[in-house]
């Protein structure tokens, strides 16, 4: 089967709407298809990755721990737009530390998050063949 460049564009904050959760579900299913997968977090999408989410009191499931499992699914190109973080008064320290294990380097642990400028991410986006937006 042909391998295509897939990008999932996440631009919505979690819990207020269902888009973030249901797009994560697509990423998990899509991982089984062995495609070249990238995730982009832009705008309010960066709020999906904040650490310390606790949803008990709003009666919804906290799905944020799933992001830290993405590395096990070989989903390890996670682009976070720098300007979006800054506009929201956030830094990488406010986000979960996402890692994956590189089989080719004796399972060395590597960072999955790539902090990139808007211009850099625009270039990555322009190379994609299939862009899924939610």
């Amino acid at each position: 089967m042909a391998v295509k460049k897939f990008m999932y564009v996440n631009r919505k904050a979690p819990y207020g709407t269902v888009y973030a959760l249901e797009s994560l579900e697509v990423v998990l299913i899509g991982a089984a298809f062995d495609q070249d997968v990238s995730l982009a977090f832009i705008g309010d999408g960066v709020y999906e990755l904040t650490k310390g989410q606790d949803t008990k009191a709003i009666g919804q499931k906290n799905f944020s721990p799933v992001y830290s499992a993405l590395g096990d699914y070989d989903v390890n190109k996670i682009y976070v737009e720098k300007e979006s973080l800054e506009e929201r008064g956030l830094t990488l320290d406010d986000l979960q530390h996402l890692v994956w294990e590189d089989e080719d380097e004796d399972y060395a642990e590597k960072d999955s998050i790539r902090l990139v400028s808007r211009a850099e991410l625009a270039d990555v986006m322009s190379e994609q063949e299939i862009i899924l937006s939610f």
């Binding site: 249901e22 579900e25 299913i29 495609q35 862009i131 939610f134």
Partner: protein, 130 residues
């Protein structure tokens, strides 16, 4: 060219389904092939057979259903999103112990893998949402 379409919103509340329908019709008229139309999020509600809009309004689920019949389109409703929102075909209803189902003719229920497959198999994927 081979196109697939993703519809993220239900009928009436947002224009997404209307636009997707007009786009699909135009693509077919231009001689393109529609590999699949995948209904996700509230988009699964486009598949209801229980909608009764006023007579002077368009019947969105029926429009999709008829377009599917006319051009043999593959209209797929995401099962995970459908289960959350109470959309089911006869088989799924039976499995869940419900007497009735509410899927209009022309749609089928299947997994999210169908969306990924549509991306792999098609030259272009166009997403309509809100």
């Amino acid at each position: 060219m081979k196109f697939s379409i993703q519809v993220n919103e239900g009928p009436y509340q947002k224009q997404a389904s209307d636009t997707a329908y007009q786009f699909a019709k135009a693509a077919i008229a231009a001689g393109h092939e529609i590999f699949r139309i995948f209904f996700y999020h509230d988009g699964v509600n486009n598949a209801t057979k229980l909608a009764v809009p006023p007579q002077d309004d368009r019947h969105i689920p029926k429009l999709w259903s008829e377009l599917s019949k006319e051009h043999n389109l593959d209209l797929v409703v995401c099962i995970a999103a459908a289960q959350r929102r109470g959309m089911m075909d006869a088989d799924e209803a039976k499995r869940q112990g419900f007497e009735d189902n509410n899927l209009i003719e022309g749609f089928r229920i299947s997994g999210l893998g169908q969306l990924i497959e549509a991306g792999i198999e098609s030259d272009r994927l166009v997403v309509f949402g809100a």
